[in-house]
Amino acid sequence: MADNVKPRVRVPRSAAAGEAFEIKTLISHKMESGQRKDSDGNPIPRSIINHFSCDFNGENVIQAALEGAISTNPYIQFEASIEESGTFTFTWQDDDGSEYTDSKDITVG
């Protein structure tokens, strides 16, 4: 598992049924692109978060396939819309096989 990888998400505490709202996500990760070389001129191997997914009560909101061109500490913002209260789950996958998750509850009202 890469060091110090920490997700953060911002989800409103409540939302009106059927109305789109914004979700912001961030995860601290170096995103070594594979383009850099070390001081001896050897390429530094790629090591990035390559996939992100957000689900709500088992249904998918969005999925993203990330490449080395995504900046350090990948930031992804998108919109969701829900009909009932429940839980958002967020999953990030790392090139090294690790998986990081976070979740946030929300009520419809």
Partner: protein
């Protein structure tokens, strides 16, 4: 009055950056709903009329990053510092939280006065000094190196507690001599490019240096998240970088010279608000 004293090869601006996105702004910075002023009348001992935060010299997109604590990439490191705050370290088995039971909020107001003379310690103290003082004497832990990620993150966490407060650094009394020393360093040309801090930051702020929009070099927003290296940068780390940019041998981080310079540069920003952790290019 701005004098054109930079050598021509360095000071030439690329024509297509004139105007548009490089204009300096005077808007208020609103962070998560709270307005923070980004300009103030300069101290009377300064040759300029108004002191301006570095925020005003950045592009629209960069400025926007600082208006929201989620969007602000520096806040990730503040989160990491909160973890360190709560983690025991050292022979005494204590964390910061063990003694500072009211949380980092206890440090509200400190950043606005630093660097400052501490009578009990008998020296000019920086945030890093206070952090290491506690680590070594109260926690029995190893001191953290200045200008390194862990220290920068903790300095950011504690500086954040003063965000929005007016910078008010004392320049007289026990620090008067050090302040003079700092002032002299600020105005002394050094390096292969033979430039002083003043050449860019006093004489040419607002102008372009190649593709960079020169600011007044204020440090009210430090530690700052720089887009360039995607991490928090400390004041003295930046001083070191600047000196290398003009091909001068930098003073050491934590040295007497950089401490004096930091005191002087901080005081040039008196009247501005603490913005830490800020976002810059």
């Amino acid at each position: 009055m701005k004098k054109f004293t930079l050598s021509a090869t360095v000071a030439v601006s690329l024509a297509f950056f004139a105007g548009t996105a490089s204009a300096q702004v005077t808007d208020a910075l609103v962070v998560d709903g709270t307005a923070i002023s980004t300009s103030a009348p300069a101290s009377d001992w300064l040759d300029i009329d108004q002191v301006l935060s570095g925020w005003s010299f950045r592009t629209v997109e960069t400025r926007a990053l600082q208006t929201d604590d989620f969007d602000n990439p520096g806040m990730i490191f503040v989160d990491q510092a909160i973890d360190d705050w709560n983690t025991a370290d050292g022979t005494e088995g204590k964390s910061c939280a063990s003694c500072h039971t009211n949380g980092p909020e206890e440090f509200a107001g400190l950043r606005a006065e630093l660097p400052r003379w501490d009578e009990e310690q008998g020296m000019l103290m920086n945030m890093e000094d206070y952090i290491n003082l506690s680590r070594v004497e109260h926690m029995g832990a190893e001191p953290w190196k200045w200008a390194k990620p862990r220290m920068n993150a903790m300095v950011a966490l504690l500086s954040l507690q003063s965000r929005g407060m007016e910078i008010n650094v004392a320049i007289d009394g026990p620090v008067a001599d050090t302040w003079e020393q700092g002032r002299e360093i600020y105005y002394t040309r050094v390096g292969q490019l033979d430039m002083s801090c003043a050449n860019c930051h006093e004489d040419n702020y607002g102008n372009m240096i190649r593709a960079d929009h020169l600011s007044q070099g204020q440090i009210n927003g430090f530690p700052t998240y720089r887009l360039k290296n995607a991490k928090l940068n400390s004041t003295q780390g930046r001083f070191s970088g600047c000196m290398k940019n003009i091909r001068a041998e930098p003073f050491a981080v934590g040295s007497e010279e950089f401490r004096a310079l930091e005191l002087y540069v901080a005081s040039r920003g008196n009247g501005l608000s603490v913005e830490s952790p800020s976002v810059r290019n």
